[in-house]
């Protein structure tokens, strides 16, 4: 009723002057991001995956890029500023990168082997003049394996790793290359470069108002002619508040928003907006503590919990905007494999496993779980956790929540399950970026990465798993490496090492005028093929 009346009012006033829509150049796409600020523009971005998506792979390239052209298969690595890379069987620590010829930065200077070394120094050598602590804070931890690097010839770079590490290409894919000449031209001042950056990417940053907007225009001279943007302009607007984001889309101030609130999806669709989503390497899970005394040390308890979660019901809660977890990786992942343990909703079977572990209706198990009411990638943490709490209670596991603020939670996650800040919690509800072998599998369970030295929060250590990790790092043939990764993931699932709950689908809401967007199964996306219909 309320709506009808207002809408009738709107029609009646349609002729008024107020209805002037702003005159936009043809082919301008305005995107409402979830970040609260424009990501760092100088090269290595901040603001997590979103920063790389909008300010990293747009303005810059890496030596190795992600192939973002397909929505149907998991994305893989593809040549970027390097055309080929290899290591020799004699010395697996020595990598040779052949660089693409004739690539120019936006400022007209040439991209050469010197630029590569200069950029690595920017991140890794705090004695270098161009060392930038802000970019280093974002980039150095991405390339932990690199020991040294040098120019071989103008189009060849050699990188040496500390140990043999076949995952180096995935690490390198994080590193963005900014123009040394531009840094010189801006008085060797990264602050000034921020306003006037220069990369090699398909987009050029035209204007930039901190915290408000960034405007990118196509780089017509981009080295890959297939990826020269069709749009006239790409405008990025930070809109961290989900409601403000939706309002902006509904009132026509932006054409595209990242992560619309699930509750608003029906309203957005009702107003003619498209919802685009796709599976991507994201994981929403309970990371178990494996310290002595944790009930999660018992595989039967872990399996029971995994069989108790009604993922279909959870999906309804999220308006269908999730992938039901069948393991740690999304089912569509190239590394999913064929695990024997089938992660389904089967409360009866769950109760059997729990009885096996010695718990049941008469002897209920109580576990303490860390959760946060918000957080990036956490989807709808409170309702989802409450839902899981109800599910687990139904089979005889009572979950006590320890609710902490998101930044506190990050600190607890870094500190590990044994740290007093974890308050004895036996699991932490976290969502993971799992796009490559290291972030996807190795970092969570490797013995030498036990927190606080690394990100193995739960202090898990299994020689069998470590052997698999070692094999991943030492298998240099990509196809064979994928095979090892599949076996590793099978172990993840068969041992029920996490509570497998859900994968986000990166929903985006956009105006029907947006054409040509292909949502890759990736954290990053390609904006080159997009156009705006008149």
């Amino acid at each position: 009723m309320f709506w009808k009346t207002l809408q009738r009012g709107a029609v009646a006033f349609a002729a008024t002057v107020l209805l002037t829509t702003s005159a936009l150049a043809a082919g301008t796409l305005r995107i409402g991001m979830t970040a609260s600020d424009i990501p760092l523009t100088t090269g290595q971005t901040d603001q997590g995956g979103e920063g790389m998506r909008f300010m990293g792979y747009t303005v810059y390239d890496s030596l190795i890029n992600w192939d973002l052209s397909s929505a149907d298969k998991p994305s893989t690595l593809t040549p970027g500023l390097a055309t080929e890379w290899s290591t020799t069987p004699e010395d697996r620590t020595k990598w040779t990168f052949k660089l693409r010829e004739g690539v120019k930065f936006h400022d007209g200077s040439d991209f050469t082997a010197d630029s590569v070394v200069w950029n690595l120094d920017k991140l890794l050598d705090d004695g270098a003049e161009q060392y930038d602590s802000r970019q280093a804070a974002q980039g150095a931890s991405r390339i932990p394996s690199i020991a040294s690097y040098k120019v071989v010839d103008p189009l060849t770079v050699e990188i040496v790793t500390k140990q043999p590490d076949a995952t180096l290409p995935y690490q390198i894919a994080w590193i963005m290359f900014s123009s040394p000449a531009n840094w010189e031209a801006n008085g060797k001042d990264w602050e000034k470069v921020a306003a006037n950056p220069s990369g090699t990417g398909p987009w050029k940053l035209e204007t930039f108002v901190p915290r408000e907007r960034a405007e990118l225009v196509p780089n017509a001279d981009y080295w890959n002619k297939d990826r020269v943007p069709k749009l006239d302009k790409l405008v990025l607007i930070p809109l961290p508040e989900p409601n403000a984001r939706s309002s902006a889309l509904l009132s026509g101030q932006v054409d595209w928003i990242e992560a619309p609130a699930p509750d608003l999806v029906p309203a957005l669709e009702g107003n003619g907006f498209k919802i685009v989503s796709n599976s991507y390497p994201h994981n929403w899970t309970y990371h178990f503590s494996r310290l002595d005394g944790s009930p999660w040390n018992d595989i039967n308890v872990r399996k029971a919990a995994n069989l108790a979660v009604d993922r279909g019901g959870l999906s309804q809660l999220l308006g269908g905007l999730m992938v039901e977890a069948k393991g740690f990786m999304p089912p569509s992942s190239q590394w999913f494999g064929k695990p024997e343990f089938d992660v389904v909703y089967d409360p009866e079977e769950a109760k059997k496993y729990l009885a096996e572990a010695g718990y049941g209706p008469d002897k209920r198990l109580t576990v303490k779980a860390l959760i946060s009411p918000s957080g990036s990638g956490q989807m709808l943490p409170l309702p989802m956790n409450e839902f899981i709490q109800q599910n687990l209670a139904a089979i005889g596991i009572d979950v006590d929540f320890e609710v902490v603020e998101w930044n506190t939670m990050i600190n607890i996650w870094r500190a590990g399950a044994a740290d007093p800040s974890a308050q004895g919690a036996q699991s932490i509800n976290f969502s993971y970026f799992i796009q490559d072998p290291f972030t996807g599998l190795i970092r969570h369970l490797s013995c030498d990465l036990i927190a606080p030295n690394g990100t193995n929060w739960g202090h898990y250590c299994d020689p069998e798993m470590d052997a698999l990790f070692k094999e991943i790092r030492n298998t240099f043939d990509p196809a064979a490496q994928d095979e090892v990764l599949r076996r590793t993931h099978e172990k993840y699932v068969n041992d029920a090492l996490f509570l497998f709950v859900a994968h986000d689908v990166a929903p985006r809401a956009m105006s029907p005028k947006v054409e040509g967007f292909v949502q890759a199964q990736n954290w990053f996306q390609d904006f080159s093929a997009i156009s705006i219909a008149e």
């Binding site: 709506w3 207002l6 809408q7 009012g9 709107a10 006033f13 008024t16 107020l18 209805l19 002037t20 702003s22 609260s36 600020d37 760092l40 901040d46 997590g48 602590s133 802000r134 804070a137 974002q138 150095a140 931890s141 991405r142 990264w190 602050e191 921020a194 204007t207 108002v209 901190p210 915290r211 408000e212 907007r213 607007i237 809109l239 508040e241 409601n243 403000a244 309002s247 902006a248 509904l250 009132s251 026509g252 101030q253 930044n407 506190t408 990050i410 600190n411 996650w413 870094r414 970092r443 606080p452 030295n453 990100t455």
Partner: protein, 317 residues
């Protein structure tokens, strides 16, 4: 007179110092690591320690204060942790945007408030007075952040007349008082103006009613002074107090826009402040609070200095 002015001016110095001490302390009683929000999630312990040292968070508090205060005196408020940009430039840009919004809200709130106040005061205890008073008290009672949301739903989303977020079609740079930009400011300015308008209405109404009921007005009327002449008297008598209320409300507009700016994504100080709080961006938080508080100190100062000028009856010092 001169002595009063001087005394008032000098008094600003200790207050401003006290304000900066409070700003600094406030931010440092905060629990938690200020660098958490900005470091990549996988950063190692050494990387974290290096960053802490770089921002000077490893030094004792009094030393940190001395450094910060010394720099602040030279206009340098440090660099934001989250963005690396200079706090002074972030804050000055934001203050500019907040002043635009506050100015627009003043243009709406104060004239209307004064007008309504006069009308209600002149027609005291009539139906008009009741209506105006009810309107004014509604204004002071409404939680303006809620009003903002309601206005967005009606005017932006449902009717599609006005934009709901941002400060202009191209962001806040090149702000102009033209139609394209004014469309963006209407909703936040109206929302922000409601409370001061209510307060000004109530104050002016009381003052006007008070003066009209005094004996000398009757005497003036008896002497044959026209209605306009009487009103002129009233205006002269109302001005000083009204001025002080308006001055203080101007301060309110600067600080009070925090919630409104959050609702409308208006890139001003309030928006900056809430970003700084949630990212635990200590230098930015300190700097923003300091600048806002100093603005308020000077607004008070100007009101105090102006008051004896318009109201010679007040003898100070």
């Amino acid at each position: 007179m001169l002595a009063y002015t001087l005394q008032r001016l000098l008094y600003v110095i200790p207050v401003a110092f006290g304000v900066s001490v409070i700003c600094f302390m406030l931010v440092h009683i905060a629990p938690g690591d200020p660098l958490t929000a900005v470091m990549p999630i996988d950063a190692t312990a050494e990387q974290q320690a290096a960053m802490r040292a770089e921002y000077g968070f490893d030094k004792p508090l009094p030393v940190q204060f001395a450094i910060w205060f010394g720099n602040a005196l030279q206009g340098d408020l440090g660099a934001s942790i989250a963005t690396g940009r200079s706090v002074s430039s972030e804050v000055s840009r934001a203050v500019g945007n907040t002043l635009i919004l506050a100015f627009a809200a003043s243009l709406i709130g104060f004239p209307l408030g004064i007008f309504f106040g006069f009308v209600a005061g002149i027609f005291k205890d009539t139906l008009i007075d009741r209506a105006v008073t009810a309107f004014a008290i509604t204004g002071v009672s409404v939680p303006n952040y809620w009003l903002g949301i309601v206005l967005v739903v009606i005017f932006s989303v449902t009717l599609g007349w006005l934009p709901s977020t941002g400060a202009g079609p191209g962001g806040s740079t090149n702000w102009a008082w033209d139609f394209e930009h004014l469309r963006f400011i209407i909703l936040p300015a109206v929302t922000l103006a409601v409370v001061p308008m209510g307060i000004v209405t109530r104050t002016v109404r009381a003052l006007v009613g008070d003066i009209l009921s005094q004996d000398f007005v009757g005497a003036l009327r008896a002497k044959g002074l026209s209605q306009v002449g009487v009103l002129r008297h009233v205006v002269r008598n109302v001005t000083p107090t009204a001025l002080s209320v308006v001055g203080l409300q101007l301060g309110y507009l600067l600080g009070g826009s925090i919630l409104i700016e959050t609702v409308f994504n208006w890139p001003g100080t309030g928006f900056l402040l809430s970003n700084a709080i949630f990212q635990r961006d200590l230098p930015l938080l300190q700097g923003t609070i300091l600048v806002l508080a100093l603005f308020f100190v000077f607004a008070n100062l100007i009101v105090d200095l102006l008051q004896p000028l318009v109201d010679p009856r007040i003898k100070r010092g």
